[in-house]
């Protein structure tokens, strides 16, 4: 099994290396779906260049990385410019490996939980149960879904800084399932520092860590305190990183160019998200209102209800929050989409209950093909207009929404079936499952 995984790493590395060395690299890096103003490597280069020239990169409009990022990337560009491609590949492979390890641990946990609760399950649910081979298969699927996902490959070849955000996120997931509080908080703070939206993963992370660390013990007190401790620790680490950044850049003005830029959405360059055309066509008077509405929708709206519903299953909570952010954030890119897609094979056992798999995959394929075509028609041959591309991004977002809601429905249905059996009968009559 392990040799298979290493084969996969080697192959995925080779594919990325070949693409990075080919002429496609620039083409991919220039795609709006891959590079957004927030993660494009060209802007990072510009920022580092300005910094070397003695000009504050946050004075201009092009650079939106944090000072910490600026410092690291500047070093990479100056000292390791020969190895840039290799660094990106290694980070991507490392992300895949972290996710693989996460899946291994998580699947083991699921099976342990299953054996514990088996007695309470309904009788006819043998077919629904996780089998021991899932323990091996799921992680391999996760790794493959990351390694050979075309979105992730494009993201790596396009050399976006999302590669590093994904690495931080993957580290967060691994530390979360391992129940290691401080490393988890640190990784999450790093991801938050760069992309802001991952901040809300602190909720599933703290729940998970609390559950993991107090497992077996009937110490209710620590179960209540632990989540707060994790949140507090996260806040401290994040503040420390921000303070460190401000010391690096000499002032707090970077906040406006980084988080201000994420929250206010001043750059309306098209991407795969919903913000760009909405705020291009927005009436100036309603702009602040809708910016607030859309940002709340992207960040907080689903946090509380989903936490209340899925607090037993923080991993699913974390994944669905990551997915919803990737759909609704202000500058989403394919790297974000690919990341949560790679997590889905952990819920391989739910796939039986998913109803829209075919529709969603058709949507994904069609929009992925149509997107670049209508972009070319609009921007280069000028025979289409912005509506075409907007339509494609809408369809893409719809497909992702279907996918997320479908997997949540599937989870609920499976839980129901486990506890109440597969029979759909009430008093001997055929019955239906409804949400009430």
């Amino acid at each position: 099994m392990d040799s298979l995984v290493f084969m996969e790493y080697a192959l995925a590395g080779l594919i990325r290396f070949w693409l990075l060395c080919s002429d496609y690299r620039q083409t991919v890096a220039d795609r709006v779906e891959v590079s957004t103003p927030l993660n494009s490597w060209k802007r990072v280069t510009e920022g580092a260049f300005l910094y070397n020239e003695g000009i504050n990169p946050y004075d201009g409009d092009l650079f939106h990385e944090t000072p910490l990022g600026l410092f690291v990337f500047k070093y990479m560009i100056q000292r390791l410019s020969q190895w840039l491609g290799v660094i990106f590949i290694i980070c991507d492979l490392l992300t895949a490996h972290l996710l693989y390890r996460t899946a291994c641990i998580y699947m083991k946990e699921l099976i342990e939980k299953q054996t514990l609760e088996k007695s309470s399950y309904a009788k006819d649910t043998q077919g629904l149960l996780l089998r021991n081979e899932d323990l091996k298969l799921s992680p391999i699927y996760v790794a493959s879904a990351y390694l050979f996902n075309p979105y992730i490959i494009l993201n790596c070849v396009g050399q976006t800084t999302t590669v590093f955000t994904n690495l931080c996120l993957a580290a967060t997931y691994l530390m979360m399932v391992k129940g290691q509080q401080l490393p988890c908080c640190f990784a999450l703070a790093m991801a938050t520092l760069q992309a802001l939206y991952p901040a809300m993963l602190v909720v599933p992370a703290s729940l998970y860590i609390a559950k993991k660390n107090t497992c077996g013990m009937s110490d209710r007190c620590s179960q209540i305190y632990s989540p707060w401790a994790t949140c507090g620790l996260f806040a401290c680490v994040l503040f420390f990183l921000l303070y460190f950044s401000s010391q690096l850049s000499g002032s707090w003005t970077f906040l406006h160019s980084t988080y201000g830029f994420i929250l206010n959405v001043p750059d309306l360059r098209p991407n795969i998200g919903l913000f760009w055309y909405f705020f291009t066509e927005m009436f100036e008077h309603f702009r602040p209102l809708f910016i607030c509405a859309f940002q709340i929708n992207a960040a907080f709206l689903y946090l509380v209800p989903l936490t209340l519903r899925l607090h037993e299953e923080p991993m699913l909570l974390a994944t669905s929050l990551t997915a919803l952010t990737a759909i609704f954030k202000s500058y989403p890119c394919l790297g974000d989409v690919g990341f949560y897609l790679a997590l889905l094979p952990m819920w391989k056992h739910l796939f039986n209950y998913m109803q829209q798999g075919f529709v969603v995959s058709c949507f994904f394929i069609i929009t992925s093909v149509l997107g670049p075509i209508v972009w070319h028609l609009w921007i280069y041959s000028r025979s289409a207009n912005a509506n075409f591309y907007f339509g494609v991004t809408l369809a893409f977002a719809t497909a992702q929404i279907f996918l997320v809601t479908d997997i949540l429905f599937a989870y609920i249905k499976r839980e129901f079936s486990l506890h109440f059996g597969l029979q759909r009968e009430v008093n001997g009559k055929a019955a239906k499952l409804v949400l009430e």
Binding site: K42, T45, E46, F49, L50, E53, I55, D59, G60, D61, L62, P266, D267, L268, R269, L274, W276, Y277, F278, T280, E281, M282, E284, N297, L301, Y302, P305, L306, L308, R309, L324, F328, I379, Y380, R382, N385, A386, N387, F390, L394, T398, I401, V404, T405, L408, F409, I412, K413, F416, F420, R424, V426, K429, A430, A431, K432, L433, V434, L435, E436
Partner: protein
């Protein structure tokens, strides 16, 4: 009461005593307010067959300093004076130009101007809140000249560090570029409504003197016309203990005689301006017409009618030029003066010898995603030249400084100095100044990449697909030779002072073409549709997630959980069922 003759005399004496001092004071004030007005016209046939006419009206005023400086004006236009005085202006340069000066074929003009409107100002060192006062100044000037100068504000103004030095006297030599503002409106269209208020600033208006030649119909059918207004402080005397104010009003016109419908190359005042000259402006200290006849010695010669009053040979920077001078004040006017130039043989065009330095600029790349700006600077001098290149890029065209490449003859040149102020969305343009040493007899290419920005739908002009203009780049250099150079020396205000004015270097500021790009446009008819569709997609997520999180799954038998139709039916027939049972 009856006055005797004595009383009358007494009264008159008293009145005299009271009034005379006032009268003397008044005369004194007039004497203190020394001012002079010179009108000049330079006519020059260009090597390309065009005719260049340059009018210059100079008012020099030894203005009393102080807050009431512009309250008593004689020849100086009070309207302009008040605008300059109120806004703490030290130097003011406005040009309104239609067309492009073709340096390669026409040589250098007397004063350069960028296409459209161009405005640059030095404020006094004690000015507070320069940005605010600059906005007010552009508003006032916009009213004065009927131009859209009020669209100039901080989002499209630069404070160049090296390119703009004060042209006049400066009290203390440490200059702070935070007091200079430069802006262009490349899209500005110059027309009669700008010419009329401009002419009203002249002492004789357009009634008398050279200004009577400026008729809108004959100005606006030229290939190039440029109105200028330049205020600067100059030295009152050689010691320079006191300063005077100089106002230079200029008009540059380039006529294409062939296009204007005359079958030959001959030109005359009447052909150019529609009528002859009726006499000098009575308020003018001097009125001169100069005709550049240098080309008579090398190219096809032309004869002038009537004979000039004087011939001047000027040697400047190693190059000799000849002028025929008409002193209008010394000529007698029985009828309109018409200076006629006739070519004895059809004009033969020689091979064009381009000037020492000229430039061109264009946009590369296709599509509306990313592109580059290329500026080619030609140096025809036998020695290297040091130039300052000022790039003025609007905020909606973000440039990447790390893509800046300066290449001459296949070799990359490292700029001696770079000054870059990154732009900010909707509040500041990108300004880049590069100090370069360009090699002898070379073409230097400056290349920089930019992105196309996607604007909000209300930020596009009504004709969105017409495109957006980018103002010209400015190339400043000190030319070591005076070839083709016609600019005025710094000390002298008149064209006359430029004769035989050899200096170590001749300050030249070239303006390149302004560019136009079409930014990608959204569909302007769609706002409601877009808002509805995007919100629908958000709702698509909200609905199911709301269901999942607020409801619980349960099993319902077929009857109790029927569709809407059946439920409606059951509600409708609720009343009837018991009846049926009753039967």
């Amino acid at each position: 009461m009856v006055y005797s003759k004595n009383d009358w005399n007494k009264l008159l004496k008293m009145v005299c005593f009271i009034l005379v001092p006032f009268w003397i004071l008044n005369v004194g004030q007039c004497l203190v307010q020394k001012d002079r007005f010179d009108e000049e016209l330079l006519l020059k046939p260009l090597p390309s067959g065009h005719v260049y006419a340059y009018f210059q009206f100079t008012t020099v005023w030894d203005a009393p300093s102080g807050p009431q400086m512009f309250q008593h004006c004689h020849l100086f236009p009070r309207a302009l004076g008040e605008v300059a005085g109120r806004h703490n202006v030290q130097e003011l340069h406005v040009t309104l130009t239609e067309g492009l000066w073709r340096y390669e074929y026409w040589g250098f003009p007397v004063s350069d101007a960028a296409p459209g409107a161009e405005l640059w100002t030095w404020f006094r060192n004690d000015t507070k809140d320069v940005d605010n006062i600059w906005k007010k100044l552009t508003g006032a000037l916009s009213g004065l000249l009927c131009a859209s100068l009020n669209f100039i504000g901080t989002p499209n103004s630069l404070s160049p560090e090296y390119s703009f030095r004060p042209t006049g006297v400066v009290k203390n030599s440490n200059l702070n570029s935070s007091f200079v503002r430069y802006a262009t409106l490349p899209r500005e269209i110059v027309c009669t409504e700008n010419l009329t208020p401009w002419k009203k600033l002249l002492p004789c208006d357009s009634k008398k003197g050279f200004a009577s030649l400026l008729n809108a119909g004959h100005i606006h059918n030229t290939n190039y016309h440029s109105l200028g207004l330049h205020i600067r402080p100059v030295c009152k005397d050689a010691k320079c203990t006191e300063v005077s104010i100089e106002l230079r009003q200029t008009v540059s016109l380039v006529y294409d005689m062939m296009i204007l419908g005359f079958q030959n190359q001959d030109w005359s005042l009447r052909k150019l301006f529609g009528l002859g000259l009726s006499g000098p402006c009575p308020l003018a200290t001097s009125s001169f017409i100069y005709v550049d006849v240098t080309s008579n010695e090398t190219g096809t010669p032309y004869q002038l009618q009537p004979e000039p009053t004087e011939v001047i040979t000027s040697i400047r920077g190693g190059y000799e030029s000849k002028f025929k001078v008409y002193n209008i004040q010394k000529m007698s006017f029985t009828h309109m003066l018409n200076i006629v130039a006739t070519y004895s043989t059809p004009k033969v065009y020689a091979v064009n010898v381009p000037p020492v330095l000229y430039a061109s600029r264009y946009i590369v790349g296709y599509g509306q995603e990313r592109g580059g700006i290329v500026t080619k600077i030609h140096n025809n001098h036998w020695k290297h030249l040091d130039i300052i290149y000022l790039e003025n890029i609007p905020w909606f065209l973000p440039i990447y400084l790390h893509t800046l490449r300066v290449v001459a003859g296949g070799k990359e040149i490292t700029p001696i100095l770079k000054k870059y102020v990154p732009g900010k969305e909707r509040s500041r343009p990108y300004s880049l100044e590069v100090l370069l040493r360009i090699p002898a007899r070379s073409v230097t290419e400056i290349y920089i990449e930019f992105d196309y920005v996607f604007l909000k739908w209300q930020e596009y002009p009504p004709d969105a697909n017409h495109g957006f203009y980018i103002g010209s780049a400015i190339i400043s250099a000190y030319l070591p030779v005076g070839k083709n150079y016609m600019g005025l020396p710094q000390a002298g205000p008149t064209i006359y002072s430029s004769f035989n004015a050899s200096r170590e270097g001749f300050l030249l500021q070239l303006r390149t073409e302004s560019l136009i790009i079409t930014l990608p446009t959204p569909d302007f008819s769609m706002p409601y549709n877009v808002i509805c569709l995007a919100c629908t997609v958000v709702a698509l997520a909200f609905g199911p997630l709301h269901n999942i999180t607020t409801k619980r799954l349960c099993m319902k038998d077929g009857n109790s959980c029927n569709g809407l139709l059946i439920r409606l039916k059951s509600m409708l027939f609720k009343g009837r069922k018991p009846q049926a049972q009753a039967h």
